[in-house]
Symmetry: C2
Subunit: 261 residues, 2 copies
DNA sequence: GGAGGATTACCATTGAGCGGGAATCCTGAG
DNA sequence: CTCAGGATTCCCGCTCAATGGTAATCCTCC
């Protein structure tokens, strides 16, 4: 599928190049980029030049490369994420204002939770969510909410594989998890104390789309020792309904709970 | 530079494909994509398949294509926009809360203003800014602020070209504009009534980076008939300083105004 | 001045990309 | 049910853009 000796397409290499950048490495020299991607030196330079021409990458004064403005623009403008984000943001602001802890919006992607938006970086508690960052499904409240409202077939396949135990409270037993998911569906929220980092607990509720399937999970991260974290739930539920409605959801149809199991 | 008869590289075609999507067209059939991009049918299908394999594009149940989650993720994670946005967001929320009109953050890119973030979609007034959307520099308060604090050489080249007159108040005369830019630098803000749409006016202030150059413009859009729009300025200035500081700016060095003209 | 790395230049080789054409699948109208 | 028009997939020979090694050049900091 490619001219390359290694059998990669240009697209594949493009992905490698873009993947080399992350929040800790927003810019680097071409040589370093070559090292990080593992691409042949010459090839890296040629490819980078092509990308510079299209402004998908940009060269900064020092010579280092970073992801181009144009790239951000094109992707942002055409992506469906923007719609979701814009629908959610006003409600998230309300939640954040009331709860005073960081509020996140996550979706399910490639068997992980991908965080789309996050408000209020609260230094006082441990919160490892990042925008465009990923966390495992079974070890986050958002993930469990998303999983709980996924098609049964997906749940089965997910629960079939081995799950990492991050802390004492991380659930890894399929049967136990399955019961937990049922509870989450019934109660309408997930409250998980310290399933990924011991010091904080997450509370999450589902956000629905027009077809009444889950689109995202809205959640807050609070200190684990908080008195009654459950008191946070109503605010979240109300906000989630607001977001759902903004997405075109029109109230719960009969059989909302039927979609899973 | 390409195998194609038309002499385009794959990268170029990739750009064409991604560009075919925007906020009004977040998904479409492959055939339509082919039409919009002008690429040969077969080529479109092959290319789309490659992109689907890498998850840069995604196929929805109906068969339509949209920009992939992975694409958004990679670009967002690696892009410097996120840093700017995250630094600005808290302050923008404050501004939005106080001013009660839509608040935007824009940067200068390819001789246009590119809006990075926008809070509060206020239906009561006309505001055509969109996230990842562009507007002309000389017809927006943000644009004029950015231009006013750009290197003199850039200003000269910009003012050398013909400028479109959008409304009665749009400034298009180079000499007049130049004087206006000086005022903006001196006063520290731009207040432009109806320069792009007659009904609303924008107020913008500069945001600085560590090297004391402009990074972005923070602005609000208010109804044009508002009593004293200038009263909004202090809030904006304060917020802009906050953002600048979050970006690593350390107070104004002597010679702040010297950088331009 | 010179060692070590980053960047550019050169160039022979070749298979990935190309795209026209035709077959097949879909879908909605009559 | 049939049929038309469009979307999608298959097929396939041609060809030149992409490849990546080697070597020269440019930096930059001891």
């Amino acid at each position: 599928m490619a001219n390359s000796a290694s059998g990669e397409s240009i697209i594949g290499r493009f992905v490698k190049i873009v993947s080399a950048f992350d929040d800790r490495h927003t810019s680097m020299s071409v040589a370093e980029l070559g090292r990080r991607t593992g691409l042949p030196v010459t090839t890296t330079y040629r490819l980078v030049n092509d990308l510079l021409l299209e402004r998908l990458l940009e060269r900064e004064p020092g010579g280092d490369i970073h992801i181009g403005t144009r790239m951000w623009e094109l992707v942002s403008r055409g992506s469906k994420m923007l719609g979701l984000r814009e629908a959610a943001l006003p409600f998230m602001e309300d939640v954040q204002a009331v709860v005073q802890h960081s509020t996140t919006l996550g979706i399910l992607d490639s068997d992980e939770v991908l965080y789309i938006e996050r408000l209020g970086s609260d230094k006082t508690i441990v919160d490892i969510t990042k925008i465009a960052g990923r966390l495992p499904v079974h070890a986050t409240s958002s993930g469990l909410v998303l999983l709980a409202h996924s098609p049964a077939a997906y749940q089965d396949s997910f629960l079939a594989r081995p799950l990492t135990k991050f802390t004492e409270t991380t659930l890894t037993d399929p049967a136990l998890l399955r019961r937990h998911l049922a509870e989450i569906r019934q109660r309408g929220f997930a409250a998980m104390p310290g399933v990924i980092v011991p010091e904080s607990s997450g509370i999450a509720v589902p956000v629905f789309g027009p077809d009444n399937t889950v689109r995202a999970a809205l959640s807050v991260v609070v200190p684990r020792n908080e008195e009654n974290a459950a008191a946070r739930v109503p605010v979240l539920l109300a906000a989630a309904r607001g977001i759902s409605r903004a997405l075109g959801w029109r109230g719960e149809l009969k059989g909302t709970l039927r979609q899973s199991h």
